[in-house]
Amino acid sequence: MTSAVPLHLHGISKSFGAVQALHPMTQTIEGSEMLALLGPSGCGKTTTLRIIAGFETPDHGSVVIGSCDVTELPPNKRDLGMVFQNYSLFPHMTVGENVAFGLKMQGITAAERTQRAREMLALVRLTQHEDRRIHQLSGGQQQRIALARALVTNPSTLLLDEPLGALDKNLRESMQFELRAIQQRLGITSILVTHDQEEALTMSNRVAVMCDGQVIQVGRPADIYERPRNRFVAEFLGTANIVAGTVTAQTAERRWDVALTGEAGGSVPVQSDATLTTGDTILLAVRPERLELGPVRAGGLRARVQDVVFRGSYFAYELRVHGQDRPFFHYSQTRKDIPADGMVGLRWQPDNAIVLEDRP
């Protein structure tokens, strides 16, 4: 295996006509790291990947793999592996021919091609399917063949474009682990494009959340989940209960009291690294599993339980908070006793309230 090389994006940007698909983006993907580009459709993640692959030329900036500027190189000279959204396996070739295609393009002899293709098929556990036609394979098998085909040439970087998007849920989950295991075993620098937050969190070392052609936040999955920068990230990655409030007083270092806006009323303690001053209006986000239900207390946040849904591994409570347009959610491993009138008090630990960057 060649040693893993980093990939640098230096201020790449792209517009299609009047639409700025990608604002200048600078990012380094370390050797053998997997970075996920996560965002809704149209956020620029696919454009970024296509620029790295060489299918699009950036308007500005450069793409550097290792120490080599590949911005002007055609796709076939970039030494990349790529798994496409619909796998894009060649329907007119057998499984073995598909996997060996990259080697054939390099002019490697038939004997060596067959041998190396077999090694790759062994890696994805499909050795016995070598002579099958593509349409004879299931979706999961096609996915693994696509991976084997992408890896057979020992590329410097692996690009994954929604690689699991076409699979059903169960298969998708097991493939997430399998793909991650293979990527880590080979130690290949990888970029994953996905709109599926679970996929991004499970598979990657770092996640870059994108919106409207810009990277909003980059970080390790847990950090982004725990400390989303703004409302978009908080709501795109998982569920967030968001409430507005005004800073009333600083009680200690990094601790403030926040009076919640509207009839929600009450004052809640908040712990944050953000620089806040008294009188600031802010947005707070609380993860459903960090929200605590308890008896109604005077001056506290009150809610009515609208519905309780069993979701398999947890219970989801839909809560109607007085003065809030949108319902709150609370996730709990155990079923709680709810008073007959359905009214409960809501609380959270001070450091579980996330101060978002955007202002109401």
């Binding site: 692959a53 076939n76 790529m82 894009s88 060649f90 007119h92």
Partner: protein, 274 residues
């Protein structure tokens, strides 16, 4: 094992309208087949004029074809023109179709329509215009002129099917080839051309069949060495009216069927018609 109770069977409503329509369709298909079947029958008739019921079976009209040189010569000319014009049409049409299929530019739509235009010009007008033009270049009545005329007429068929087949192929496949290290030329040879081959075959088949039957185009370029089969048949019919016309027609049909069967053997008929 208990015998399950026989469920009460409800009488299915007989749909007389559909049955009547079905009978009509059968009659129509009979109408389509009738003249073709009768020509095949007549080609085996012992009578030297058209008469029904045919008095007896013979192969003498097929012998007559072989003896009558112009038929055989014309059959060869027809075959050469059909195949060569289709090959040239493919060489010219396929690259253009590949370049145009995925472009959303207005110009691409205009050029595509232009490439399809020869099929909308009546062959007799195209033939007339080409004959006078090529005559002014002093190769009016020649095999080359015939070939040019048939190539012009054949290009739309190839372009049309390759356009539609190539549009149905996801662009990802070529991107996949490129990222696996294939140069443009390698991508073309190993990915694009194999994938559009059904379109080339379907279009080529139509071009060949149309060329074989394109009397209005061919008769302008007629000479002893450039007469195609329909031209010879027409002039034969103006003088004689015996079953050898039926025989040569049947031979031509059999040749077409063989071409179709080979195409089917290679690609499958459903791929050709879709």
């Amino acid at each position: 094992m208990t015998v399950p109770a026989v469920p009460v069977r409800r009488r299915k409503r007989v749909r007389y309208g559909v049955i009547a329509l079905g009978i009509y369709v059968l009659l129509f298909l009979g109408f389509i087949a009738a003249p073709i079947v009768s020509v095949v029958l007549v080609s085996f008739s012992t009578a030297s004029f058209i008469a029904f019921p045919i008095p007896g079976f013979t192969l003498r009209w097929y012998w007559r074809i072989i003896e009558y040189r112009p038929f055989i010569d014309a059959l060869i000319v027809s075959g050469e023109v059909a195949v060569l014009s289709t090959v040239f049409g493919a060489l010219l049409g396929i690259p253009a179709a590949l370049a145009l299929a995925r472009s959303r530019a207005m110009a691409a739509a205009i050029v595509s329509n232009f490439l399809l235009a020869p099929v909308t010009v009546p062959a007799i007008v195209l033939g007339l215009a080409l004959l006078y033009f090529l005559s002014s270049l002093s190769f009016g009545i020649s095999f080359t002129a015939l070939l040019i005329a048939h190539t012009v007429a054949g290009i739309p068929y190839i372009v049309r099917t390759v356009l539609s087949v190539y549009r149905s192929i996801p662009p990802d496949l070529e991107e996949a080839a490129a990222i696996l290290g294939a140069s443009r030329w390698q991508t073309l040879v190993h990915t694009t051309l194999p994938l559009v081959r059904p379109g080339v075959f379907a279009g080529g088949l139509f071009a060949v069949l149309t060329s074989l039957d394109n009397l209005p185009l061919s008769f302008f370029f007629g000479s002893a060495t450039t007469n195609t089969l329909p031209v010879v048949m027409l002039s034969y019919m103006e003088n004689q009216f015996d079953p050898s016309i039926a025989a040569i027609s049947t031979v031509q049909m059999v040749i077409a069927i063989v071409i179709l069967l080979i195409a089917d053997r290679v690609y499958g008929i459903e791929k050709l018609t879709s």
